[in-house]
């Protein structure tokens, strides 16, 4: 009986958490898409600065990781495909896997490590030092001032980073193709492009936009829920990373199922 009660409690808490995320995302979306038409400011300068921080500055590490991942994917695919004499299909396997699934997912995980944790730490520190209270007493909504610019930056930058990650992954696979599968780099790229259909790319980009919104919501919510003291900021940051990864995988599952049934 106690087990049932604990499961029930866990499910209720989980639903409440998802509800809080949806509420925060809804408010950020309101300040982004509706409030500017009601005379409230759209903080594009802050959003641009956030986009530089979470997008442009993530390019070097994301490039390296996805390039290596493309290479790993090619090696793993070739391990099976060469048994059937179909090593030429490596280009197709890498391109489709990266574009539909791994590109958006790896990008999201890199961004969680760089930006999701930073959002929680920044907002958590502001909570501890009463800066969030100061914003409220100045009649400035913390969601409008802090969350909405991050939301805009992430929803715009995640798809951009994902396109870049896909390209770097395909190039990583191309290194294997050229060295081990008698491809020229031109033919490898052409084969990859031919293997992709627009729907693959759009599927990945839609997922990456949702990941952007999810990472922002979790990072900011954990920051806003920070308790008193420096130790709490550390805990919020850890929770933000763990919960972001979990929520991104959950969102990924939901959208993959959705696309599977829509495409089917």
């Amino acid at each position: 009986m106690e087990l049932v009660s604990q499961i029930g409690c866990g499910v209720t808490n989980g639903l409440a958490y998802v509800g809080s995320l949806a509420n925060l995302t809804g408010r950020a979306a309101w300040y982004t898409f509706v409030a500017p038409f009601r005379g409230k400011p759209l903080r594009l300068t802050r959003a641009f600065s956030q986009a530089m921080e979470c997008g442009v500055l993530a390019l070097p590490i994301l490039s390296l990781i996805t390039f290596f991942f493309g290479l790993i994917l090619a090696l793993q695919s070739a391990y099976e495909l060469r048994k059937f004499g179909a090593i030429d299909l490596v280009a197709t396997a890498v391109a489709v896997s990266m574009t539909r699934e791994l590109g958006p997912l790896i990008t999201a995980i890199v961004v969680i490590g760089r930006s999701g944790s930073a959002f929680a730490a920044e907002i958590g520190t502001m909570k501890v030092t009463e800066e969030i209270d100061a914003l409220e007493t100045m009649a400035i909504s913390p969601v409008s001032f802090l969350v909405a610019p991050k939301f805009i930056a992430m929803v715009v930058m995640l798809p951009c980073l994902t396109i870049w990650a896909n390209t770097m992954g395909i190039l990583g696979g191309g290194v294997f193709g050229v060295l081990q599968a008698d491809f020229t780099i031109g033919r490898y790229v052409r084969t990859s492009i031919d293997a992709l259909i627009l729907r693959d790319i759009i599927t990945g980009l839609v997922k990456s936009m949702m990941f952007g919104a999810t990472i922002t919501a979790v990072g900011c919510l954990e920051g806003l829920n920070t308790g008193a003291g420096a130790e709490e900021v550390g805990k919020s940051t850890t929770r933000a990373v763990v919960m972001s990864i979990f929520m991104v995988v959950l969102v990924d599952l939901v959208f993959t199922m959705l696309f599977f049934f829509l495409e089917g």
Binding site: K127, E131, D133, M138, A139, G227, A228
Partner: protein, 288 residues
């Protein structure tokens, strides 16, 4: 005049009440922190809210600026009852009040000038050049002329407090709230902040509400004082009335007499775990 205990302050009816509290109750979950607070703050007066740690004075201040919602009772400010108004109405009222936080709460990622200019940029349509002039004026008023390009981390504790006051003054508020203005400052810097409060009172005839437990500072700046203990108003009156009070709790607080029961370990533990336990605030913040 004898001090009035646990009763509403209704004398001097010719003076307009700027803030009126009527049977104000605030709870965090099941735990009630303020148990029916009632008093008025008149236009242009400096009211000091005194109380020990865990007395509920900070909760009272947070409720007055709309950071906490009352569970019952009324707070009348600018003709509106803060207990029942919408968030948008609360934001309108907040444009007419200023708040200086205990830890200054300056935005670390902005210069001092941008901190002061923020409310002006958010709530007015003034040109940048006008805002620049205004922020310099505000910084000059608090003795920080020329510091607009400094980052908060480059300022001393006293200067940060002054910058926070300049930011609170940015919108020319009708009421200024201070949370522990002298906390964490050495006596000389703390005296400087007291002087600043007195200057603002003299120059702008501003209504000022200060939460503190620093007695010297309180007696220097206050017109009237209210002593809060365990979420109740124990006494309210002018500085002279407070100083002459024979009320035991007032005397204990003003004469800095330790709680007698703390000499026994069991009583001390009981005190900590029952009435004096810091309230658990939303987000895990333990303070009252």
């Amino acid at each position: 005049m004898a001090i009035r205990e646990l009763e509403m302050d209704r004398d001097n009816s010719d003076s307009e009440a700027m803030v009126s509290l009527r049977d104000l109750r605030v709870s965090y979950g099941d735990r009630e922190i303020l148990h029916g607070i009632s008093f008025d703050v008149k236009r242009g007066e400096t009211m000091v809210i005194l109380g020990g740690s865990g007395s509920g004075k900070s909760t009272l201040l947070r409720t007055l600026v709309g950071l906490e919602r009352p569970s019952a009772g009324e707070i009348w400010l600018r003709g509106k009852n803060l207990a029942t108004i919408s968030d948008d109405e609360m934001d309108e009222i907040r444009k007419h009040i200023g708040m200086s936080f205990q830890g200054s709460a300056l935005f670390g990622s902005m210069t001092v000038g941008d901190n002061v200019a923020l409310p002006l940029r958010e709530h007015t349509k003034l040109e940048d050049s006008t805002i620049e002039i205004m922020l310099r004026l505000k910084l000059e008023q608090v003795g920080l002329a020329g510091f607009e390009y400094y980052m908060p981390s480059q300022l001393s504790g006293g200067m940060m407090k002054r910058a926070a006051v300049a930011r609170a003054l940015a919108m020319d508020p009708e009421i200024l709230f201070f949370d522990e203005p002298s906390a964490g400052l050495d006596p000389i810097i703390a005296a400087g902040i007291d002087q600043l409060i007195l200057e603002m009172k003299k120059a702008f005839r501003m209504t000022i509400i200060v939460v503190t437990h620093e007695l010297a500072s309180a007696f220097l700046i206050a017109d009237r004082m209210v002593l809060i203990d365990k979420g109740n108003v124990v006494a309210i009156g002018t500085t002279e009335e407070m100083r002459d009070s024979n009320q035991p709790r007032v005397r204990q607080f003003l004469d800095r007499v330790a709680e007698p029961e703390v000499s026994r370990e069991l009583d001390y533990l009981q005190m900590l775990t029952e009435d004096r336990r810091p309230a658990k605030m939303p987000g895990g913040k333990g303070r009252a």
